[in-house]
Each structure stands twice: as C-alpha cells, then as structure tokens.
C-alpha cells in the first residue's frame, strides 16, 4: 500500500482514488503524477470488437478520464467468443451502448462517449482531433489507412493492433517523433486482403493479448513510463508462441509521414 499521507498535499486524488488505483500508483514509473495524467486523458477507441473491448476494459479499469467508443455494429452471438465486454443478454444491442454499460459498471468514474457509426471523413477528423490518443481496433485495411492518415494530419499518437487466426500485430506511431514510421510505410493500400475475424477465424485470447498490449502502450504514452514501441512492430504467432520484432523506418517518399519537417 502507498502511504496516503505522504502524497496527500501534492495531489488532488481522493482517498477512494488512491485505494482504487493503488496497485499502479505503487509503480514508480506511474506514481501519483502518472495517475493524474491518466485521469486527465481522453482516449479514442475505434472499433469495439475483439481488440477494442479488451483495451477498453483495461483502460477504464486504469482510470482513464475519458473514453470515446466508436463502432457501427450490434452485439451478435458469434462475437461473444472473444469480445469480452459483452454478455449473452446484450445480443442485439448496439456495441457501443453495451460496452458503455459494462465499462460504467466497472468504473463509474470514467467519462464515456459513444459514436454508433463507422468513422470516416469529416466525422473521423473531428473525433480524432478531440482525443489525446487513438487506438485502432478496426477489422479492415480501408479504415486503418484512413485512421493512420488522419492521426498524422492532427499529430495524434496511434496505437495499432491487429489479430487474425493465431496471429497478432502491434505498432505505435507517433507523428511528432521523426523516427516513427506510419502504418502506410509498410502496408500496401492496394492489398487484396480484407480480413475479418468472422470470415477467417481467430482465437479469443490472441485478440486479448494484442488488445491488452494496446492498453499497455496507451498507458505508457499518457504517463511517459518506459520505452514505446516506436520504429518497431511486434508480431505474434500463437501457434508456436513466438514473438518477432520487426524494425521499420519511415519510408522515404511515404505520402503520409514523408511530409514531416
């Protein structure tokens, strides 16, 4: 337990908050100041499916000040194998509303906003520009390219997760960091691939691992703890339980991130 009295003058956390977030405040890299940053942060989660529900649970539990959830879909029976913010009785409800209910029950302190829609164009721009950090938890390349482009336009850090079958992928892109590539530096916008977990299959805990790691990187971005996964992408093969780190530099001439001065 942290010594409450030692901290009390220097901060605005209530006794209940100190108790609630005690386990992470004890970590010297987070401490009270990190918790205050978390309580002041606004994170946008685009897609509350397998990745987004898991990241949202951890970020709400950690006391993120504001979470905005965006997703156009309703909860279906097939989602329940991996999208763990939902339960059997929530079938048919809008995912953003169901997720909001679960998160609110988990931590009523978090301010929750929902957008029951796919984010594109002007709506995507406005939503991204209002958030501090963006989590890409979508299931298609078209959205991923547009989110990447918009995050670079508004200079917002982007934590990208992806998972399919037994494989996962994690990247962090920070427009303000010259060493940071972008999603388009190593993904082909003309790719034939458009993968959905419902069409290709996915193991629940695989999306859970990647969604959890998105939450880790978001917390590090907010609190400044540790080293971020910049200039690298982590690849996970659950079948052999192996991780690989792939170094990626900003690609010369990249139309998204090559314009930075």
């Amino acid at each position: 337990m942290i010594d409450k009295t030692a901290y009390r003058q220097a901060m605005d956390l209530s006794d209940e908050q100190l108790l609630h977030y005690n386990a992470q405040i004890m970590l010297p890299e987070i401490d009270v100041s990190g918790q205050q940053k978390l309580l002041a942060a606004h994170i946008l989660i685009i897609g509350v499916g397998g990745l987004g529900t898991v990241a949202a649970l951890y970020l709400a539990a950690a006391g993120t000040g504001q979470l905005t959830l965006a997703d156009p879909d309703q909860v279906e029976l097939t989602n329940l194998q991996r999208q763990i913010s939902y339960n059997y009785a929530m079938q048919g409800e809008a995912k953003v509303n169901a997720c909001q209910k679960t998160l609110n029950a988990l931590n009523p302190e978090v301010s929750l906003a929902t957008i029951e829609s796919s984010l594109h164009g002007e709506l995507l721009e406005r939503t991204i520009s209002q958030a501090d950090i963006i989590l890409d938890c979508t299931d298609n390349l078209k959205s991923r390219f547009e989110i990447n482009k918009t995050c670079f336009k508004y200079a917002k850090p982007l934590v990208c997760g992806a998972a399919i079958r037994w494989e996962g992928q994690l990247s962090v892109f920070v427009p303000a960091d010259k060493d940071s590539p972008c999603y388009q530096c190593f993904h082909n916008p003309d790719s034939r691939l458009n993968q959905s977990c419902s069409a290709n299959g996915v193991l629940g805990p695989v999306v859970g691992v990647i969604g959890s790691m998105q939450a880790i990187e978001a917390i590090k971005l907010i609190t400044g703890a540790g080293e971020l996964l910049i200039g690298q992408t982590l690849l996970f093969d659950a079948l052999s339980l192996q991780w690989q780190t792939m170094q990626v530099s900003p690609r010369t001439g990249c139309e998204i991130c090559g314009q930075r001065v």
């Binding site: 991923r144 998972a163 079958r165 691939l193 993968q195 690989q244």
Partner: protein, 83 residues
C-alpha cells in the same frame, strides 16, 4: 551459402520438413534475392506480406534487388489486419 529461413503462421507449411520452431537452415546460390527465396519455396508473394531480413522490414519494391548473404535470417509473415 547458408541462411536461416523462418516462416510463421500458415506460411510454416512451406518450410522444409526438417524445420524446427518455424526455422530451417537452407542452402542458396550466391546472388539469390528475397523474391527468389519466396518463389523457391512456392510461397505466393502476396502471402509473404511482411518480409523481415535480419530483423528489418524489406518493402515490396526492394525484394527483387535485396540479395541474401551467408548467415542471414529471412522471416516471412502473412498480413494481419483483423480485429
């Protein structure tokens, strides 16, 4: 020359039968490019979406001109975009 070829996820089935833990040492002729290796093991070039040479991503345009050297490790991963 010898290199280590690693294939992950559903690409693993393209590795020689003696492969262990997704990796196999393979013998190549001098001047073999990354794309030559992908073709040699009958992997669809689009399936070898992420190509990693000694830990560094090799982009599509460089896969014909990037030649392998003794002791290199070449890893191939399929695309992952679901969520």
């Amino acid at each position: 020359m010898k290199i280590t070829l690693k294939c992950f996820a559903f690409l693993a089935k393209h590795l020689p039968v003696y492969a262990k833990k997704n990796a196999a040492e393979v013998e190549l002729q001098e001047g073999t490019s990354v794309n030559n290796v992908i073709d040699m093991f009958q992997i669809d070039r689009e399936d070898a979406y992420l190509v990693i040479l000694n830990g560094v991503f090799v982009c599509g345009e460089d896969r014909d001109t990037t030649l392998l050297n003794e002791g290199d490790t070449l890893a191939l991963w399929p695309e992952v975009a679901g969520g």
